[in-house]
Amino acid sequence: MAFAAFASTAAPPTDAPPRRRSPVALLLLLPGILYLVLFFLAPLVSLVLTSLQAPSEFGDIGQYSYAFRWENYVVVIEQYWPHILRSFGYALTATVLALLFSYPLAYFIGVTTRRWPLLQSLMLVLVIAPFFISFLLRTLAWKQILSDESFLVTSLKAVSLLAPDAHLTGTAFSVIFGLTYNFIPFMTLPLYTTLERLDLRYLEAGNDLYASPVQVFRKVTIPLSMPGIVAGTLLTFIPAAGDYINASRDFLGGADTQMIGNVIEANFLVLLNYPAAAALSIILMTVILVIVGVYVKRSGTEELL
């Protein structure tokens, strides 16, 4: 039977439909389907059910029973809408900053250093190098660098670039900085893979057709690197919106910089309000899905991807 399946793919009969449902193919798919059902679909259903739970009537704190309490969503949105907005605001800012930083870097590695493969590889290693150290450690290091007693902050205060009573840690600045810093490799690598394949003859054609270097960049280079831009921004924006490390008080955040991830963490681990945590998770997921859907559709990269 296995041989028959091979034979049918090697030489599909021209008149018969080429896709034949083979039991072998289904059998091969089974582990994957099983995995998805067990570790994605089931938890998702469980999450939805949890988000609709109501407190047990005679239970302790943290004891809930299944119900259909849709008010849970209304309650968490009323209570936490500033955190939700802040999360997407921070994630968006960090994504834009990471893009502005990574594009020239990726262009340099992918296009300028094409003639020197050794330099190109070295630059790529440098981009990936931070991954060799846990990002918790790296974020903690930044906490040290940005802390009130640090050389950086005292120097900035000495030259009056920073007010004497100002802080860097615990501010929106340091959280966005941390997010940007941590996600720059995720932005740079997809941009690099697109720019590395960019055919420079298109740029020459643009030049030949009266487009100045700036116009060539806007009309040719950017559109042709859209797949990398979309991949990089998604890889940055999605995890950044749900991030809870950078904004955490233990790292770069403060009381006024809490993001939705921190709220979910607090509800789940401290307040033991599982339905609220679940509802917030679903809201986060839905908003990201909608934003990403609209973004991919509008960027028109389906055929370039």
Binding site: Y202, E204, L209
Partner: protein, 400 residues
């Protein structure tokens, strides 16, 4: 000059003392060239001879190491590519894959802020008979259609000078013919100056008014296709433009109108008007289709040259004509084309034949045989051309 308005006519192109060096090699040694406005000029040569570099210099995609470029009398050497009134049809077409055909064609017009860009783009597409595909993306077109779009995208801008970089290279024979015709029509209609770079001698000869044969960064000979074919100046031209039978020997006799050259013991006569050199060692030649074969030694005749006897070593039938290879002792192998006026090949392999041709059909080269023949002959064999092409492909692959 580049922005605002169309060029109303083609412009002269003048290259003065152009030299181009790349790290490691010199692409163009020294180039002086004047292309009059409205002409169809072809630069012909094997790959690596510097013709594409010349084109890129004119387009502004490379800067010359030395020399000046003038278009319509104006020095454009320091102008960037986008400032020059020049458009290029690239060998790879380089159509923007993210734009429709129409957007591609309108690109140059929009950059120059020319009114009615869309209408003019449609007009250009109608000229190449592709207006019905205006909304397609380039990947949805065939190679020939892409080529026509690339052409429309260039001519829609009415450049003073249109550069064509082997634009027909990827097309099959029938499409090539069609496009060649179309290019000629467009040139007559629009009156642009065309600079066409190609390694295809047939393409250059059928399309261009003037052909310059380039080799190793220098122009070997320039002139009308008929002149280059009838009176090649160097062995390279004689062999690159069609085939030639070349013989070298000392001049042994001279009249007021002709010289006699000793070739393997036989005296071969060439008119003085058709020979660049009249004394010393001379390389003379004759085209294969001017030769005729005879089974018996023909009667002596002052109007024709005779070589032989030789033996036919190969006969290949090509339809219109038959190609014979005739080995003549002391001379090497001659190539002979005979028209198939009657049915099929007349001579057979192994036959003993004499070769004759009309004295008026010979030509004498300008090359100094002692100094140069070897170099050029070695250069034009199919094997070395193939090896060169292979080396080029390899470097291209490495770059990509």
């Amino acid at each position: 000059m580049a922005t605002g308005a169309f060029a109303d006519r083609g412009a002269d192109l003048e290259l003065v003392g152009i030299q181009k060096r790349f790290p490691g090699f010199t692409a163009i040694e020294h180039l002086d060239l004047v292309i009059p406005a409205g002409s169809f000029f072809a630069l012909l040569g094997p790959s690596g001879c510097g013709k594409t570099t010349t084109l890129r210099l004119v387009a502004g995609l490379e800067d010359p190491t030395d020399g000046r470029i003038l278009i319509g009398g104006q020095d454009v050497t320091t102008q960037k590519a986008y400032q020059r009134p020049v458009n290029t049809v690239f060998q790879s077409y380089a159509l923007f894959p993210h734009m429709t055909v129409l957007e591609n064609v309108a690109f140059g017009l929009r950059r120059r802020k020319i009114t009615d860009a869309v209408a003019k783009a449609h007009e250009a597409l109608r000229l190449v008979e592709l207006d019905h595909l205006a909304a397609r993306k380039p990947v949805q077109l065939s190679g020939g259609q892409q080529q026509r779009v690339a052409l429309a995208r260039a001519i829609v801008n009415r450049p003073a000078l249109l550069l064509l970089d082997e634009p027909l290279g990827a097309l099959d024979l029938k499409l090539r013919r069609q496009m060649q015709l179309e290019l000629k029509n467009i040139q007559e209609e629009v009156g642009l100056t065309f600079l066409h770079v190609t390694h295809d001698q047939e393409e250059a000869m059928t399309m261009a008014d003037t052909v310059a044969v380039m080799n190793k960064g220098m122009i070997e000979q320039m002139g009308s296709p008929e002149l280059l074919y009838e009176l090649p100046r160097t062995a390279f031209v004689a062999n690159f433009l069609g085939q030639s039978n070349l013989f070298t020997g000392p001049v042994v006799g001279e009249t007021s109108t002709s010289i006699a050259v000793d070739v393997a013991g036989r005296s071969i006569v060439v008119p003085k008007a058709r020979s660049h050199r009249h004394g010393g060692d001379v390389t003379i030649g004759v085209r294969p289709e001017k030769l005729s074969l005879h089974r018996d030694l023909p009667a002596p005749d002052s109007a024709s040259n005779v070589l032989g006897p030789g033996r036919v070593t190969d006969v290949s039938f090509t339809g219109v004509s038959t190609q014979y290879l005739v080995a003549v002792p002391g001379l090497g192998t001659l190539v002979v084309f005979e028209q198939n006026r009657s049915a099929g090949p007349i001579e057979g392999e192994g036959d003993e034949v004499w070769v004759t041709w009309n004295v008026e059909h010979g030509f004498g080269l300008d090359d100094d045989p002692a100094a140069q023949t070897e170099k050029f002959v070695a250069d034009t064999t199919t094997q070395s051309l193939a090896a060169q092409r292979r080396a080029d492909l390899l470097t291209e692959l490495e770059e990509a």
